[in-house]
């Protein structure tokens, strides 16, 4: 595990300013790799081995072959990728395809039309500044088909419109000085567009001038690839993830730059570093960014600032939520697994999701589930099933299977899903798109030149059926990716 070595490393670096590493772009990939001091005898070991071993011929080089009848193995001489290159390739996010045609009829989302019910069923483009913000927040996923089209656009489906009404409800409540925190878990089948809905929610929040915090993948938080440290004075003991939080602050700054630049601090927090009085929030965030050991303190200060009256509502999203609904891969000092809820960032999210805390200026807490990469979380699955049953078939609500191991903390957090009176906490179930929606999507594909068919009702009906009653991902796969 990373823990001991990285902790040691962090410890050794405590005194050093991290500004030198300010150009990091991703949280987990680029933990600093140089150690300050070393107890290894690496140099000596290298020298002796060099002296003794004869130099083996390089791969692909021709050598004298004395073995009769045996041919030298035919290595292919292609260049091997450098370390990390393949992963970078895999994780690369391409948002435009220059070979695809620009769709002239494509409208952009704007602060005005985004909450308008008339855009439902249309494909809408994301404006450029929003794309940058979403990209910084890692809201685009590599597996989504953004790289197939000229520029990012997404269908405003029925569920997106529902989310828009929620955003409108929060804004209306804020206008009436009765802030409302709406919590939703986005569920649905494999490739039904859950992450895309999350992305659309973030985009809408950006357009409406909300403050947006996105944790793109819960697995990255829970799978013990970033450093962690116990939070002093917390009971029960919580753990901060400094590097991760510092990087989250960087993303927050990129995503909400305008707001952070113009807003000045009103609280007088007790911070472990000097901060000029009446400084902007940007200065605060930058401090947390560059000095990761202060990042959690900065995050909580920022949260307090956002809780002040007059501040915008918050959109707080976390995707692949199942990874934190169980023990994380981190170990405590007693070599016991640390529960996902004991990580400070997750605790912040779960407290608001469960309704234990509310947002002072209102907002939406969005949790996304994943079907392709999900650990076994019986409690979460059960509550999702119950909430879905309450929506569709209230007489047939499933019962808890007593033979399954129960995680009481998850049960406590998600209890609200069982309560039909709690309108603010619910699941947002994504089914297939309707045929008119599918037609709008396929017309967009055809206009982009990626689907070479006349899009008529017959083709739409055929693809719609083959895509499992309008599963968006399958629809895209059947009509754009696989050309049969």
């Amino acid at each position: 595990m990373m823990n001991s070595s990285t902790c040691l490393r962090s410890f050794s670096k405590l005194s050093l300013d991290r500004t030198a590493h300010a150009s990091l772009t991703s949280r987990t990939l680029f933990a600093p790799q140089t150690a300050c001091f070393s107890t290894s005898t690496g140099y000596r070991a290298q020298v002796t081995s060099k002296a003794k071993k004869p130099v083996a011929p390089r791969r692909g080089e021709k050598t004298l072959n004395v073995k009769k009848g045996k041919k030298a193995p035919n290595y292919d001489m292609g260049k091997r990728p450098n370390p990390g290159e393949r992963k970078a390739q895999r994780k690369r996010i391409v948002l435009s395809n220059n070979n695809a045609l620009a769709v002239a009829s494509l409208q952009d989302l704007s602060p005005k039309n985004v909450l308008d019910p008339s855009i439902e069923g249309k494909v809408m483009g994301f404006p450029e500044e929003i794309v940058d913000a979403l990209r910084a927040e890692e809201a685009f996923k590599p597996s989504q088909g953004w790289g197939l089209f000229r520029r990012p656009a997404a269908l405003v489906r029925k569920e997106t419109a529902q989310l828009a009404t929620l955003i409108k409800a929060v804004e209306d409540a804020k206008a009436e000085k009765q802030p409302r925190t709406i919590r939703r878990l986005v569920t649905g089948d494999l490739m039904s567009g859950k992450s895309t809905l999350l992305l659309q929610g973030l985009a809408m929040a950006h357009l409406r001038g909300w403050f947006v915090i996105n944790l793109p993948n819960a697995q990255e938080i829970a799978f013990a690839r970033t450093d962690y440290a116990p939070l002093a004075g917390s009971d029960p003991l919580q753990y901060t993830q400094d590097t991760y939080t510092a990087d989250l602050l960087r993303q927050i700054l990129k995503g909400n730059r305008a707001f952070l630049e113009e807003t000045r601090m009103v609280t007088k927090p007790d911070l472990p570093f000097p901060l000029p009085a009446n400084s902007t929030l940007k200065v605060l965030v930058e401090q947390g960014m560059v000095n990761s050991e202060f990042s959690w303190a900065v995050f909580t200060t920022l949260w307090q600032e956002l809780s002040q009256p007059g501040r915008p509502p918050i959109m707080f999203a976390l995707d692949a939520i199942a990874h934190v609904m169980r023990n994380s891969d981190y170990l405590s000092a007693e070599v016991k697994p640390i529960h996902g809820f004991d990580l400070t960032l997750i605790r912040q999210f779960v407290d608001h999701l469960s309704g234990q805390k509310t947002l002072a200026n209102g907002g939406i807490i969005l949790g996304g589930t994943s079907q392709s990469n999900k650990p076994a979380t019986p409690a979460l699955d059960h509550f999702i099933k119950v909430a879905e049953a309450l929506q569709s078939d209230p007489d047939n609500v499933p019962k808890w299977n007593p033979y399954l191991g129960v995680d009481q903390r998850v049960v406590d957090a998600l209890q609200g899903l069982e309560d039909p009176k709690q309108k603010d906490f619910d699941v947002l179930r994504l089914g297939g798109v309707s045929k008119p929606e599918a037609k709008a999507m396929m017309e967009y594909y055809a206009h982009s030149g990626m689907l070479r068919h006349t899009v008529d009702d017959r083709l739409v009906a055929e693809k719609w059926s083959l895509a499992g009653m309008g599963n968006v991902g399958e629809l895209e796969r059947a009509s754009v990716r696989l050309r049969l």
Binding site: D189, K435, R458
Partner: protein, 336 residues
Amino acid sequence: MARSELSRGVQAAAECLNIASRPRYCAPMRCAQRAFAPSTSRYLSTTPSRRVGIDDTPKLESVSQSLEPFTAAPPIDFSKTDKPSSMGNKKVLEGLRIVPASPSYFSAKPTFTDDYISLTALLRKTATLPTVTPAEAPRVAWKSIDQYRIMTNEPVKTQRFHKMLHVLRRLNCIHPTLIPDEVVQAMKRFKKDSQPGDIVSPPGVLDEWGRSRGIGRRKTSSAIAFLVEGEGEVLINGKPLTIFFDRLHHRESAVWALKATNRLDKYNLFGRVTGGGSTGQAEAMTLAVAKALLVHEPALKPALRRAGCITRDPRKVERKKPGHVKARKMPTWVKR
């Protein structure tokens, strides 16, 4: 020698005329068509019974009309033959002409030749009737050569049999509304017991919910499809198509009957599949859906046949044999 044989035969015939009521061999029931009534014909038959095989079909009318009832020759009394024949017998013999019952009496395969001759005679008789093209003629399963050989107990040559079949097919091409009953009866002898289209499965019906049901099988999978008018929703074992079948190919296979006939958006499909792997399950669904679709729209059968949704694929895993490593694979040959 030969002469004495002939004279003996003639004498036997004469005896036969003299003795009218004589205990006769009682033929089994299957030869019942040959009447034992005393003939009024002037001809005499000396042919032995040729109905030796398991031939229980009626003989062709045209031939049997000219045939004489068979009577065995009386035992030859040698004491009589030695005596000089009387004048009365001589007179009778002068008026007799011994003709074989069948024109193919001297042939090695008399039944076959009889059949062939009678069929050609029939064809000659009906040659002027209007015909239809062979494709439009009613489908008939003719007896195979082996079946015919067993029926007649004669070593019929393939080529000759095919010549006869040629005549039969020509007879079958006579316009169905004008075909004489004589020809129909004559052809019966050469048809197999079961004809294509004999077994008609009961037509499918829609139940009270408007569902039709079809069953299909492939490899070791078996599928039941319920088809109801709708807008193209598909559930297989309660799951959407995309969840149940990973591969797009399998999805297309499962609804191929609907897709090939442009009916994908007209029906809702519920399937239950058991057994086998995903390919077998998908292709079992193809057949099941096609059968269920035929209940709604029977006229689609040719289109579905062209799409390959009607015929069950009979291929299965070949069994392993003793001495083989797999079904066909033999162990590696080792010298010793």
